[in-house]
């Protein structure tokens, strides 16, 4: 989900020690049948060469974290390895996020060689679970690691349920939030004495704040990506759409029906266009461009998922803050998703299951490390801890979790899915002024109907 997720991330943990090479050699020998007895153990390399099982104590783990998230996750993995007998206890691999990642997870599970534990977005674990590719997470399984469903944010835990059953363990929630440039907002008189943003309610206050910021920057009031990033287009739209009374979910019946509120959709798209037409927001800016505008003081506000905290913190001399997206319409709402852990389906021994759950527990215990990347932990013991409440600006937008609206559940929906691509690209065209809201909606509808009219392959 981070900007680095958009790029390509190398496979992590591919350090090859002399020991591994020697073991690899032994594995190869074992494969030749010269020393068959040795084939039972060994490193990933020898296991790969000889087609044998990994060291029985090894947990295999797949994730999709790049950038700041990626390095934080590696710290957490290292911690697990330190506690569980070194590098042989964990075999982790990082892949590019989005459709290719979920395709890999699906094919590996169908091919009966999945990892012990994998990461999935909350919205993307539904199709996997419906395809019967995931182990159910029962209370008994949670208890193996000393966990229970009461340990997780109840909203997230409920959102995870599929026909009353659970197939994933939540790690965090990552809402779409508002970043502000402290210097710009200070000069525009938008800050309280303590440096926090004065509350903004309704579209007129929002436009007034943007105009004030625009006067200071001389360029724009706020920026959000409109080009080359379908997901962000969707996040911004879904946030504003969901804040209005009468905003129905976009899809229902597992994706077979399009149930969006047409009037509100047109109204929202028109409003998004008007912010651009009046010059308060830029018409064409991409993911990094929209950040740079705020970083360099050319816009006062910037909207993106909270994970960009890492990038923002790395900009030297930048003073910024983060808050939930203001309520511009009827009630608080913001687009978001959660990262979760899944156990891909295969015949696990009780030992393997216990180790997998132990690994998940170890990562959950390190939720504070994870929260430094902006994500709001789902693990309540961390959220309730004193350390977390001192974490700024994270603690400022914890409330955004309650306002998070997840994408509708469908076999073609979820973060980085065909749904987001189809709708997001049209929202982008509308924002850039290349299509009217009506044209954009008609085109998005056409593309969605193809999916809706196709029987679910799940």
């Amino acid at each position: 989900m981070t900007s680095a997720h958009l790029g390509r991330t190398p496979l992590s943990q591919s350090r090859i020690s002399r020991r591994a090479v020697l073991q690899g050699g032994l594995g190869a020998v074992a494969a030749l049948g010269v020393a068959g007895g040795l084939s039972g153990c060994g490193s990933a390399l020898s296991a790969g060469l000889a087609g044998t099982k990994l060291d029985p104590g090894t947990v295999t783990y797949w994730n999709l974290f790049g950038g700041g998230d990626g390095s934080r996750m590696q710290t957490m993995e290292q911690q697990y390895m330190n506690q569980h007998g070194g590098g042989r206890s964990l075999q982790s691999a990082t892949f590019t996020w989005g459709n290719p990642y979920y395709t890999k997870v699906s094919l590996a599970t169908l091919g009966e060689t999945p990892p012990d534990v994998a990461v999935a977005h909350l919205t993307r674990q539904f199709p996997l679970a419906l395809a019967n590719l995931l182990e159910e997470i029962t209370d008994d399984k949670l208890a193996l690691a000393g966990l229970s469903s009461a340990d997780f944010n109840p909203k997230v835990w409920q959102a995870l349920a599929l026909n009353g059953k659970h197939y994933a363990i939540p790690l965090d929630t990552h809402p779409f939030v508002l970043y502000y440039n402290t210097d710009v907002c200070q000069k525009a008189g938008l800050l309280n004495a303590d440096g926090s943003l004065k509350p903004i309610h309704g579209t007129s206050e929002w436009e007034a704040a943007l105009s004030a910021a625009k006067k200071v920057t001389g360029a724009y009031g706020a920026s959000v990506a409109t080009v080359g990033d379908n997901a962000t287009n969707w996040r911004w739209f879904q946030t504003l759409y969901s804040q209005q009374n009468g905003s129905t979910p976009w899809l229902s019946d597992g994706g077979q029906k399009l149930t969006y509120n047409e009037d509100l959709t047109i109204k929202t798209l028109t409003y998004m266009q008007s912010l651009i037409k009046s010059g308060l927001m830029p018409a064409t800016t991409d993911y990094t461009g929209s950040q740079t505008l705020m970083f360099t003081g050319k816009s006062g506000f910037y909207m993106q998922g909270e994970w960009e905290i890492t990038t923002s913190e790395s900009v030297s001399g930048l003073k910024f803050g983060m808050t939930p997206i203001p309520v511009l319409f009827d009630h608080a709402a913001t687009q978001g998703d959660s990262h979760t852990f899944i156990l891909p389906r295969f015949n696990r021994t009780p030992d393997q299951l216990g180790r997998a759950m132990g690994f998940v527990k170890s990562l959950l215990d390190q939720s504070l490390t994870w929260a430094k990347g902006g994500h709001i932990p789902a693990y309540l013991p961390t959220v309730r801890s004193a350390e977390f409440s001192k974490l700024k600006p994270q603690a400022n937008y914890v409330s955004a979790v309650d306002a998070v609206v997840y994408d509708s559940q469908a076999w073609y929906s979820g973060s980085g899915s065909n749904f987001e691509n189809a709708v997001g690209s049209q929202i982008g065209l509308s924002q850039q002024g290349l299509a009217t809201p009506q044209e954009a909606l008609a085109a998005a509808r056409d593309q969605l109907l193809t999916y809706a009219n196709t029987p679910s392959p799940l």
Binding site: S106, L133, Y412, S425, T454, P457
Partner: protein, 316 residues
């Protein structure tokens, strides 16, 4: 291919009678099958059966995550694909890609082969230089060229900036340039194969022809036009055919470098097939797109064959 290269029976051996020929043929049949068996088994298992499977699946709503073919849907998958704008866009991109790779890959390979053939010293260096990219895997090629094309800091954008282009556009992130970028990568990658075919054919042309031509006062250009090009005709036929098929099957570079983007601006048929069959789990619909691509390949190669025959008839 293999039968064409078999040399005819040695002229000095007496012509065998029909009976003895049949006897010998029968005696050879069994060992022949035995020798063929390893290949035939693999061919049936990994080529013929998957193709049959594809045809069957294209008539069902086969799902990747369900066992069996699913329910019979007749031609519904075909109706869906043929009315899907993305399918036609992908097909268009595939055909454009074929056009903008095949022409340079044939002409440039020919030009480079003629030039390299004239080099007297260190010809091996040129042969190597042109052929080495071809033996690299597509993933390595994609990495090299993604680096060259990286926005702003990449080799190409830096070069553009150096010659005074104010705002160089990132090749792979610009809808109108992405496919062209992939095409240039492909040309650089695969030109070595055509080059080697041409070079081998050039070295088969007897020197005497050129000597005779220059004695008659033919210029270099006349020699190329009247000797080299006609005598390379069969190689050109082969190269064009192989190249068209290879370009229509474009997948790796697009998948690795642009993933079909930005938007769908470099989506080709095989990336659409992979998306439909594996990402969306819709094996049946994916198979349908594959069958349609197969038909397009057959039509395109058929047209090429027809043009070839017409040309031969005119020459004859």
């Amino acid at each position: 291919m293999s039968t064409a290269t078999l040399s005819p029976a040695h002229p000095t051996t007496p012509a065998p009678t029909r009976a003895s020929r049949e006897e010998r043929r029968r005696g050879e049949t069994r060992p022949a099958w035995l020798f063929l068996a390893p290949f035939v088994i693999f061919y049936l298992l990994f080529l013929v059966w998957p193709v049959i499977y594809m045809f069957i699946a294209s008539l069902f709503n086969t799902s990747l995550v369900r066992t069996g073919f699913g329910t019979f849907t007749g031609l519904r998958n075909y109706a869906e694909m043929l009315t899907l704008p993305l399918f036609w866009q992908s097909l268009g991109h595939t055909l454009v890609f074929t056009l903008i790779t095949t022409i340079p890959l044939v002409i440039l390979a020919f030009v480079f082969a003629v030039l390299a053939n004239r080099v007297l010293r260190a010809q091996w260096l040129f042969r190597l230089a042109f052929f080495v990219p071809f033996i690299l895997p597509s993933a390595a090629i994609a990495l090299i060229w993604s680096f060259i094309y990286s926005p702003t800091t990449g080799l190409w954008n830096s070069f553009e900036a150096a010659i005074g282009i104010a705002k160089p556009s990132p090749v792979l992130a610009t809808p109108s340039l992405a496919l062209l970028g992939v095409a240039i990568t492909t040309i650089w990658w695969t030109i070595g194969f055509n080059f080697v075919l041409y070079l081998a054919a050039l070295q088969d042309i007897p020197r005497e022809l050129y000597e005779a031509a220059s004695v008659d006062g033919a210029s270099q250009w006349q020699q190329i036009r009247s000797i080299t090009i006609p005598l390379l005709n069969r190689t050109t036929t082969l190269v064009v055919l192989l190249q068209i098929i290879a370009s229509l099957k474009i997948f790796d570079q697009v998948y690795l470098m642009t993933a079909g983007g930005p938007g769908n601006s470099s989506q080709v048929v095989l990336t659409l097939v992979a998306d439909t069959a594996f990402t969306n789990y819709r094996m049946g619909a994916g198979s349908t797109a594959s069958v349609l691509l197969l038909i397009v390949i057959l039509i395109v190669t058929g047209i090429r064959e027809l043009i070839e025959r017409l040309q031969q008839r005119r020459e004859g």
